[in-house]
């Protein structure tokens, strides 16, 4: 086991890795959580087995990697070096891939990606989803084997750490970060360099570096993917933070349900310690730093830094008033830096490439890239990393490929339960911290959910509020009781039991909850309601004035009397004779939508 004691050791290691014998072919298989759930682990095992059986193992290797990010078409296999990409691979496809591609050298066309005009796209780089993306945080994710430290070293791993602690100063690290303009990717967007500088400035014999890997926004999974796909980057970044602020202990606070991420992280911690990147006298210097994992129980509120710290201390996960900020009094009352995973992994790249390089990417006040988890009614579902300043339109249409069935996209929900909805009118807004705040949304940790014309915005707001009121810690009044009351009003509305005054109540209550709550969760909880009320007020009014139709109906002008709808209706509530206009008996309709699907001439009107 090589103990790295100098920069030369590190450079030599990288050279040795690069010099190693190359395989003629490498099958890069996505082993991210969502592909694993589609049996990519079994696919990997079967591929290895078949390769061995055919005595190809000297030439061809199988490499499991972290998330390949285009989750909608997983499990994905990219065959290096020509980058042939197979999508939605199942166990049944393994034989064909081995026989046709590996042995006979033929491409398995049916597993290739098809473009908008049904054309075959054979390489990953040509798939539109990947084209506009630019990767910094996800740099190595899906590229390297997270369990193999050699691969991380080959991609300049630990070079930033080595350079910093062996030939630079903590102040220089912080200065670089400040100049880079990196801001927190967890929600608030606080300048990272400044946060580190504040913590460094506090005199204390004990300081802590804390990585917030709680990631509670429904649908967001970038932090998990980074830890799964590139754990050493996080370790390197946290160690850099320790060096910069003068801490010798770090903690990764991660929810216990991220079991699949914890395992590679634990392995990486062990390996990095063995090689001298962690522990006593790192890289032969007099700087020592250790990282431990703290498991959380998965409460959303523990993503709030003061609640996270309380939870780490073994208390009930509840936010505390700020000030004092963690930089002054954090874990165990000691100065602590708390950053989320995505923020951290930007750091080594910035140190390596320089502040000027980083700040050349993005907009005036938001530098670098941001990772979004793109989901909802969108063709391309997956993780998207784009430069700050990219517009919603680019993400939704260029990267996301628009609506899967060509329906009209009505809006994008950004920022999860704390965020708001952006309508089509704002799709040309460049995505950065300040532009988002200006239009009533927030960056949040990067959930991005696309909604089409069929989505009921009141129901969507209710869904988010149900989440926040359940996840509220219950400490402060506005959040504990207020979000519950907002939820009750929404419930009343969608049950057609509300009245127009409920809209006023909802708005007043929402504004006051925002103003009066103790922590970020409460202060942002009403956002999904307030922003949809702003942009889709007519949908709320339809409920409040009880003008909203809740059943299906037949458009008399279009109906041809084919009887298809009446035949599929499970409650026999459509009447009409052949070749005559049909009619829905509204009192019996259960709004199942079967008639809508069955109608050949679009004569069924949705509620």
């Amino acid at each position: 086991m090589l103990l790295v004691n100098s920069l030369n050791d590190l450079k030599q290691w990288k050279k040795n890795v690069l010099k190693r014998k190359k395989y003629t072919m490498t099958l890069v298989v996505c082993a991210g959580t969502s592909c694993l759930s589609s049996e990519s682990d079994l696919i990997i095992a079967m591929l290895k087995n078949a390769i061995e059986k055919n005595q190809l193992d000297a030439e061809i290797q199988v490499k499991p990697v972290g998330c390949l990010r285009f989750c909608g078409i997983g499990p994905l296999i990219v065959i290096e070096p020509d980058q042939t990409t197979y999508m939605k691979v199942t166990l049944k496809d393994v034989d064909d891939i081995v026989k046709l591609h590996l042995i006979q050298g033929e491409v398995v066309e049916r597993l290739l990606y098809r473009g908008d005009n049904d054309e075959l796209i054979s390489t990953i780089t040509e798939i539109p989803f990947y084209k506009k993306q630019r990767r910094i945080a996800l740099k190595n994710v899906g590229l390297i084997d997270p369990r193999d430290i050699d691969e991380y070293i080959a991609h300049d791993g630990y070079l930033a750490l080595g350079k910093s602690i062996l030939s630079s100063t903590p102040e220089a690290v912080i200065d670089t970060l400040k100049q880079s303009g990196l801001r927190g990717r967890g929600g608030g967007g606080f300048p990272t360099g400044l946060k580190w500088a504040y913590t460094a400035a506090v005199k204390s014999n004990e300081k802590y570096v804390i990585c917030n890997a709680d990631e509670g926004d429904p649908g967001a999974f970038m932090d998990r993917s980074i830890i799964e796909g590139d754990p050493h980057a996080l370790i390197e970044a946290m160690t850099l933070a320790g060096y910069a602020i003068g801490a010798d202990q770090g903690y990764v606070y991660i929810r216990a349900e991220y079991a699949i991420s914890i395992e590679p992280l634990e392995l990486a911690l062990k390996t990095s310690k063995e090689h001298g990147f962690l522990g006593k006298n790192i890289l032969g210097s007099d700087f020592s730093f250790n990282i431990d994992i703290k498991l959380g129980a998965g409460a959303f509120v523990c993503g709030e830094e003061t609640a996270l710290i309380r939870s780490m201390e073994g208390h009930r996960g509840e936010p505390d008033k700020k000030p004092p900020f963690p930089s002054e009094s954090g874990f165990r009352g000691k100065p602590s830096v708390v950053n989320n995973v995505e923020t951290f992994v930007n750091v080594p790249v910035i140190i390596r490439e320089g502040a000027a390089w980083f700040s050349s990417i993005g907009t005036d006040n938001s530098k670098g890239t941001k990772v979004f988890a793109l989901a909802g009614n969108i063709k391309n579902i997956g993780l998207v990393e784009v430069p700050m300043g990219t517009t919603f339109r680019e993400i939704v249409y260029d990267v996301g490929g628009g609506h899967p069935n060509g329906k009209k996209i009505k809006g994008v929900q950004i920022g999860g339960p704390s965020g708001g909805v952006i309508t089509e009118d704002y799709f040309d807004t460049p995505i950065d911290y300040d532009s988002l705040t200006a239009i009533g949304a927030m960056m949040g940790s990067g959930g991005m959910i696309v909604m089409d014309e069929d989505n009921d915005m009141v129901e969507i707001a209710k869904f988010y509020l149900d989440f926040t009121q359940e996840e509220s810690c219950g400490k402060c009044t506005p959040c504990r009781i207020g979000t519950k009351r907002m939820y009750e009003i929404l419930e009343r509305l969608v049950n057609m039991e509300g009245d127009p005054k409920d809209l006023e109540r909802l708005e007043t209550l929402g504004i006051n909850i925002k103003n009066a709550s103790l922590c970020g969760l409460g202060q942002t909880a009403p956002n999904p309601v307030l922003s949809t009320m702003q942009f889709f007020r007519e949908e709320y009014e339809a409920y409040a004035y009880r003008t909203k139709r809740t059943t299906y109906a037949v458009d008399a002008k279009k109906c041809i009397g084919c009887t298809k709808c009446a035949r599929v209706c499970p409650v026999q509530c459509i009447e009409g004779k052949v070749r005559e206009v049909h009619r829905v008996i509204e009192s019996d309709c259960i709004a199942c939508g079967a008639c809508y699907e069955a109608c050949p001439v679009d004569a069924i009107i949705k509620p």
């Binding site: 810690c473 009044t477 519950k484 007043t508 209550l509 009066a516």
Partner: protein
């Protein structure tokens, strides 16, 4: 040399003010005469109790420098801060918070135990709430009526967490904490255990700080009325020292008003057959305790000796320090001594069958209810003390009986157990029991008269106090602590043998019995406790007799009944044993 504190300047409602750094916005506003409503906030700084977790959101004010709302109770003034306490944003947020709390609070105020003494009710009135705009589901948690001392109705809880601060941080007993999440959050015992199944000491400090009726004493009033109306029963009552300096507050008197004579008079009007003084029991306790201490010192017995008058403290060491059961004094508390003597000596003298005597005690304490219910305090099938009512309950009984308290003429205690000394009065405050004991121990050990009976070094409000008292050749090392958190620290030090004392006085409630869980609510005003304490010192100062062993009725008791301190019969009636208990 006191360092000059840094001053900061801020503007509140356009008034400029200089305050010491570290001052909260609430305190600063108060200095310039600006009132900000509060609810969860509680500051009894002098006895180490501060609830400042800023969760009710009633005290929000607008920080104009940043444009956001801040909790004035917890946020400290910074230089240049500009605060507006009555901006529309702040006022609306405060109203919303209060309306939300009210929307989740039962509306049975008329029959509620806290009616007219409820901080939530006062606030609703102060903020002129006439309509609750947000109605919806209300909490529905089980009530806990199992304990002999405290009742919990979580549906009246507003999550101010004062009780949690009290129980967990101040008393370090840790029985109460928030459970669940969101709307379902409730302050409760672990796993909703019954109070009885926990290590609750019944100190009642949770009750004394609860702004609503979520926590209240278990009332004995109906049972007492029933006995009073039973002609077969001879109902007697005893009055604890701290009651006489607090009860008058319930009738509009200033805190610290001494109303001993009126209380005796009121109780007689209510129909008690005899009114005794628990202070008599206190003098008796001192004699027994001093005897025990001297014996321990002379025979090389276990030291330090710890006082045992406080039932919450007894409960505390049985649960938390079962390995130290041999250090507290074996003396029963004054309440139990008076109870035991009533049903023996008094019964004999009066020729009444002890089973017909009903002993009621009027205490500043809720733990006394649990103490009276302890099985070991029952002899021949009847308890030493049958019922305990708190100062608050007694005031309610007096009101219920339509007695004009202010018009009452003073009356005296009844014979046999009616005389007491200034020393006994001190039992009601921290430091008092040990001061009384020192007076008796001094004369008993040296055989000389103690000229200056006031031991200033034993007085005050500090959580842990130490003093060395010179008694002849003996340097008596004394410790005093109040509040169970302070007590825990001291006991742990004793367990680790880091400190050495001869005698230690312990009272569970901050301030001692003057701040007991059964006293009129102080609503966070520490001055009330201080005035009660001063009143006790005043009683002592004006007392004809100031040393327990000079109490003539106590002397008569020994002469005719107990023989001598520590005698067999004294041991049978006045001493007890402790049981180790589980810590939950």
């Amino acid at each position: 040399m006191k360092l000059l504190s840094k001053m900061v300047n801020c503007t509140i409602n356009n008034k400029s003010i200089n305050v010491e750094a570290g001052t909260t916005v609430l305190e600063a506003a108060k200095k310039v005469g600006i009132h900000i409503p509060t609810l969860c906030h509680l500051d009894l700084h002098d006895v180490g109790v501060v609830n400042q977790n800023a969760n009710c959101r009633i005290c929000l004010v607008e920080n104009e420098s940043r444009g956001n709302l801040i909790p004035s109770c917890a946020e400290k003034v910074t230089d240049g801060m500009v605060i507006q306490t009555d901006s529309i944003k702040a006022v609306m947020a405060r109203r919303t918070s209060l309306e939300l709390i009210l929307s989740n609070h039962p509306k049975d105020c008329l029959t509620c135990v806290k009616n007219l003494d409820c901080e939530l009710q006062s606030l609703a009135s102060e903020m002129n709430i006439k309509e609750i705009r947000y109605q919806g589901e209300m909490m529905n948690h089980p009530k806990d009526f199992t304990s002999p001392a405290i009742e919990k109705d979580s549906n009246k809880c507003i999550m101010c967490r004062r009780c949690v601060t009290m129980c967990d941080e101040v008393q370090t007993v840790g029985i109460l904490s928030p459970l669940n999440r969101g709307f379902d959050v409730v302050v409760a015992t672990a796993f909703h255990l019954d109070f009885n199944d926990t290590s609750c000491t019944y100190c009642g400090q949770c009750v004394s700080v609860c702004p609503t009726a979520a926590l209240a004493e278990k009332t004995s009033t109906p049972s007492i009325w029933r006995r009073l109306n039973d002609p077969q029963k001879h109902v007697v009552v005893q009055i604890a020292p701290a009651v006489r300096v607090a009860l008058a507050e319930e009738f509009g008197y200033e805190p610290g008003h001494i109303s001993t004579g009126k209380i005796v008079s009121a109780l007689k009007r209510i129909g008690f057959d005899a009114v005794f003084d628990t202070n008599f029991g206190a003098d008796l306790t001192i004699i027994e305790e001093a005897h025990e201490l001297i014996e321990r010192i002379e025979t090389g017995g276990h030291l330090p000796m710890l006082t045992s008058c406080c039932p919450a403290w007894v409960q505390f060491f049985e649960h938390q320090f079962p390995d130290l059961l041999d250090i507290p004094s074996s003396c029963k508390s004054p309440q139990q001594m008076v109870g035991a003597i009533s049903k023996t000596y008094y019964a004999e003298k009066k020729g009444i069958d002890p089973k017909d005597i009903v002993m009621v005690s009027l205490m500043p304490c809720v733990a006394k209810k649990a103490e009276a219910a302890r099985l070991e305090f029952t002899r021949d099938g009847y308890p030493d003390v049958d019922f305990v009512m708190t100062t608050r309950e007694a005031a309610k009984m007096i009101k219920e009986a339509a007695i004009e308290f202010k018009q009452l003429k003073d009356q005296s205690f009844d014979d046999l157990m009616g005389e007491s000394t200034g020393a006994a009065a001190l039992f009601g405050t921290t430091g008092g029991v040990i001061e009384a004991a020192c007076r008796t121990a001094y004369e008993s050990i040296t055989g000389k008269e103690l000229k200056n009976v006031e031991f200033d070094e034993l007085r005050g409000f500090d959580g842990v106090r130490k003093a060395t008292i010179k008694i002849g050749d003996l340097d008596l090392s004394i410790g005093i602590t109040h509040g169970l958190g302070n007590t825990r620290k001291l006991l742990e030090a004793i367990r680790r043998k880091e400190v050495k004392f001869d005698a230690i006085e312990i009272m569970a409630c901050p301030g001692g019995c003057i701040g007991g869980g059964g006293q009129p609510y102080h609503h966070g005003n520490i001055d009330i406790l201080k005035k009660r304490q001063q009143a006790l010192y005043k009683i002592d100062r004006h007392a004809m007799i100031r040393k327990s062993h000079d109490n003539e009725m106590v002397q008569a008791l020994y002469e005719h009944f107990l023989k001598e301190p520590g005698s067999d019969i004294a041991h049978r009636l006045l001493h007890t044993k402790y049981q180790p208990k589980e810590r939950i």
